[in-house]
């Protein structure tokens, strides 16, 4: 079924156009992003159940204007009287800028945005609309999953959660009239268990441009989660060192995102905070390695028609057979770098500044089979499950915490598990060590990505199994 465009955005459109006309009298450039994102989250455990609002829900506006050689923005979520609203926006932004100018601060060169005339809209499709499904049925389904996991003796708690989002955005300026409406769903099932000595957590996540049909995917994963929990409870610590490893698609995605994705966000090029800027056209990975990012690169939670600055989404080849081709960018960074914006200007919400952000980031598939990859390793690990990661674009350091490593000896899985595993190293060393790539492919879009320690946005990442060499600790 087709997702329905927000009636509120359709209704408010003439008012926002009037606001733009009024602000056009004051500023050289005016655009407005209007958002209406709704959804519900459900979480069922053995001890407690929660029904809440979707974490990234929002309804509001952000106005961007060009004033005296600088861009200024005003975020708000009430606008009864358009004339009064325009007056407030103009006076607050001008007063703030004047106060900073009075200090004598220099300003970054900010070229004026020149837009092409464009009117477009997009709506996506899902199978089962969660908004039309009863909360009773959703909670009962999650309870069934929670009960199935909780019956195991070692389990202290088993939680099953699902949330869905209906994203509606409208971008208006003198030349742009863009509207989009899409929906996605996320699921999570997690077991907390103990063997008396250790307590561990094991989980699986689910996501996609889907509706309540995601609940059915969750049903089949309970036994795998319990097996993973037991593997972690019986795991040993890894002996620190360099190892040949195979990354599962989830860990591959984590590497794509943390190791290289953040490093090619081109607002970091403007700030001279990314080493990648000096490596365009140079080899940064092995010949068999290619990487892409874009709203159109995959069908996942960050697939959209236009970004939060009104630039159409694209599919950017970042690494092509080992060579760094380009980065990804928001519109202001692209103008400063004299490149084309790639539709990667994203905001945490209408309340926050837009930065260059990843969308759907992935390594492309190869031709190897997982069996051959395992058979090729003398002593190493199959790395499974994503816990966390941290970027370091300036120094190309990498920190990824993965849930566990399954030992491989003489080309076979031994059944021994190590956990937790921290993967560290120098990004080009890791990428150049990629020697085999499988023909499998999976994307993961649960959770959120921060820039530094804030600015959380929805992204997805993934790819095939990779064989590479990393330091584990």
């Amino acid at each position: 079924m087709q997702v329905k465009m927000s009636e509120y955005l359709i209704e408010i459109k003439p008012k926002i156009k009037e606001l733009i006309t009024l602000l056009d009298n004051e500023f050289e450039y005016v655009s407005v992003l209007c958002t209406d994102v709704s959804g519900t989250s459900y979480r069922v455990g053995q001890r407690q159940t929660n029904v809440g609002d979707y974490g990234f829900g929002e309804r509001g506006f952000v106005v961007r204007v060009y004033e005296n050689g600088s861009y200024c923005e005003y975020s708000f979520n009430e606008c009864e009287d358009v004339k009064a609203c325009a007056k407030t926006i103009a006076s607050v932004l001008k007063d703030e800028l004047r106060a900073l100018e009075k200090l004598g601060v220099s300003k970054m060169e900010s070229p004026l945005i020149h837009e092409e005339e464009i009117t477009e809209s997009m709506v996506n499709e899902i199978e089962v609309n969660p908004e039309e499904m009863s909360a009773e049925d959703i909670l009962a389904h999650l309870k069934k999953i929670s009960d199935a996991g909780a019956k195991h003796e070692e389990v202290i708690e088993f939680q099953a959660a699902m949330q869905f989002a209906h994203v509606n955005k409208m971008f208006l300026s003198d030349k742009k009239d863009l509207m989009q409406s899409y929906a996605y769903a996320e699921g999570m099932a997690a077991a907390i268990g103990t063997n008396g000595e250790k307590t561990e957590v094991a989980y699986e996540s689910f996501s996609g441009l889907k509706g309540a049909e995601i609940l059915d995917e969750m049903d089949n994963k309970v036994e795998k989660i319990i097996q993973d929990l037991n593997d972690k409870l019986n795991a040993e610590a890894v002996v620190p060192g360099m190892y040949d490893v195979i990354t599962t698609p989830e860990v591959t995605g984590l590497i794509a995102h943390e190791a290289f994705g953040h490093g090619v966000e081109m607002d970091m090029f403007v700030k001279e905070r990314a080493l990648a800027k000096d490596y365009i056209g140079k080899q940064v990975a092995s010949d068999i390695t290619s990487m892409r990012d874009g709203a159109l690169s995959a069908s996942q939670v960050s697939s959209y028609l236009f970004d939060d600055e009104g630039t159409l989404g694209s599919d950017t080849t970042i690494i092509d057979h080992g060579t760094l081709v380009t980065g990804i960018s928001d519109i202001l960074s692209a103008m400063r770098l004299n490149t084309k914006p790639t539709g990667n200007g994203k905001r945490e919400s209408f309340e926050r500044k837009a930065y260059t952000r990843m969308t759907n980031t992935l390594f492309t598939t190869g031709t190897d089979s997982l069996e051959d990859m395992i058979a090729s390793i003398e002593h190493g690990y199959l790395l499974e499950g994503m816990d966390s990661g941290m970027e370091d674009p300036k120094h190309w350091g990498i920190q990824c915490v993965v849930a566990m490593g399954r030992e491989i000896k003489d080309g076979k899985l031994t059944g021994k598990v190590v956990a937790p595993v921290t993967l560290t190293g120098y990004v080009p060393d890791l990428l150049k060590s990629i020697s085999m790539i499988s023909n499998d492919f999976a994307m993961f879009g649960s959770g959120a990505c921060g820039k530094g320690h804030k600015e959380w946005v929805k992204v997805s990442d993934g790819g095939p199994y990779l064989k590479c060499k990393v330091r584990l600790g």
Binding site: R47, S75, L93, E96, M108, A237, P420
Partner: protein
């Protein structure tokens, strides 16, 4: 809108309800180097409503929460409240009471956001960078908040808050090799000179990082944690005394028992309703419950838990509080004592990870110092990984303490026999 919302809720089938409305006024400035990149401002109101539905026998209390946007029509509000009430009846949580009978109007703060923003910009513009040093970029946020909490049990409290954030990145370089360090300062009131000085101190760490050598592998290191992540280390103990974690069966703290071993420093942790300079000085929590002082651990022994009214009721706590500010008392060793023997001190992690459930903690080393028989030298790279079940036996804290926003913590934690991954 609030009046309409209140009367819709009053007339609804909800057994109880709570409205939490926060209005935020902000001014923000973004700099690249010392040049202004963008200025921003905002005025936004968020209203969260939770409806509660009791079972007929009053054994269960279900709830559902929805944001009611200021631009919702009356019909939209009614529809959202009806949906929330419908969902809440299928949530079978044990019954618990809401906070009752709290009234406070609070006093508005006399803060001019533009003046505060300019003051911080001025302080940042005064940062002195040496020949091979530069301010790379920084972001400044000044926020004023008004919070109004209203429930169906006679709670009607309003309080105001003000906080600032400066996220700064600096560079130092040597012979064409440049490194960066990032700092996120959060505060309510800081003198301009203090802001300037805290950023200038980053250059000292930057210079050390330029000289850093790769961390060596060591499976039995004496590790000193001394950066801002010390706060997260001690959050292990606030997590295990949290009423929700106690109720979920994942918390290890027990009243009148120690979590630490006989050879560890005694742990004393106090919760404080207010702390000078902290951004967390609200008089009430988001349930409308007054924030109180409380001793969580006294000389190593757990004395109390903390948490929401709901979870406190579930674990039969008669009185509870949420956390605003935390004081962790100093331990038995001076910083000098900790550095007498060979050690590995980590001042900056790429990201310090602490999982209170498994007890695992650690991260990649972005800057540290190692002392061996040849001397003390800066290190970078590699990682540490440890588990609380092991370090609780003999961990020591520094006598010296320092404030990091809403935490006063020992300047350093001393851990024995920690695994360090390195070259």
């Amino acid at each position: 809108m609030k009046k309409e919302l209140y009367s819709i809720l009053k007339e609804s089938k909800a057994s109880d309800f709570i409205i939490k409305e926060i209005t935020t006024y902000s001014q923000e400035a973004f700099f690249i180097g010392q040049k202004l990149d963008m200025s921003r401002a905002k005025e936004v109101t968020h209203t969260m409503v939770t409806v509660y539905v009791d079972s007929d026998d009053k054994k269960y209390r279900g709830s559902a929460t929805k944001e009611i946007h200021p631009t919702y029509s009356v019909e939209e509000i009614k529809k959202e409240i009806d949906k929330a009430i419908f969902a809440a009846q299928f949530v079978l949580n044990p019954w618990f009471p809401l906070v009752a009978d709290q009234q406070s109007e609070g006093s508005d703060l006399d803060v001019n956001l533009t003046e505060e923003l300019v003051k911080i910009c001025e302080a940042m513009q005064k940062v002195k960078a040496g020949k091979n040093e530069k301010v790379n970029s920084y972001e400044i946020f000044v926020n004023k908040k008004k919070t109004h909490i209203l429930n169906s049990q006679n709670v009607d409290v309003t309080f105001y808050g003000f906080d600032c954030e400066v996220e700064a990145v600096i560079n130092t370089s040597k012979e064409g090799h440049e490194i960066e360090l990032l700092k996120d300062l959060r505060f309510a009131n800081k003198k301009s000179e203090e802001i300037t000085s805290e950023i200038e101190k980053m250059f000292i760490s930057g210079e050390a990082r330029l000289k850093a050598v790769p961390t060596k592998k060591n499976e039995h290191a004496n590790v000193i944690l001394s950066g801002d992540d010390v706060v997260q280390f001690f959050q292990y103990f606030t997590s295990h005394t949290n009423a929700s974690n106690q109720f979920m069966g994942v918390a290890k703290a027990k009243i009148n028992e120690k979590m630490t071993g006989e050879n560890a420093d005694d742990l004393t942790i106090e919760l404080k309703a207010t702390m000078d300079g902290s951004t967390k000085n609200d008089a009430y929590d988001m349930d409308g419950n007054p924030i109180k002082d409380r001793v969580l651990f006294d000389k190593g022994v757990c004395k109390a838990f903390w948490g929401s009214v709901q979870h406190a009721h579930y674990i039969h706590m008669e009185d509870t509080t949420s956390i605003n500010n935390v004081i962790v008392h100093g331990g038995s060793m001076s910083m000098d004592d900790m550095k007498k023997e060979p050690y590995l001190e980590v001042t900056d992690f790429s990201a310090f990870i602490m999982d209170p459930i498994s007890g695992n903690f650690g991260g990649e080393i972005r800057l540290g110092y190692e002392k061996d028989d040849k001397g003390v030298y800066p290190i970078v790279g590699g990682s540490i990984s440890a588990n609380f079940s092991k370090v609780l036996k003999n961990m020591k804290f520094s006598k010296e303490t320092r404030q990091i926003n809403n935490y006063i913590v020992p300047c350093a934690v001393y851990l024995r026999d920690v695994v360090v991954a390195g070259e």
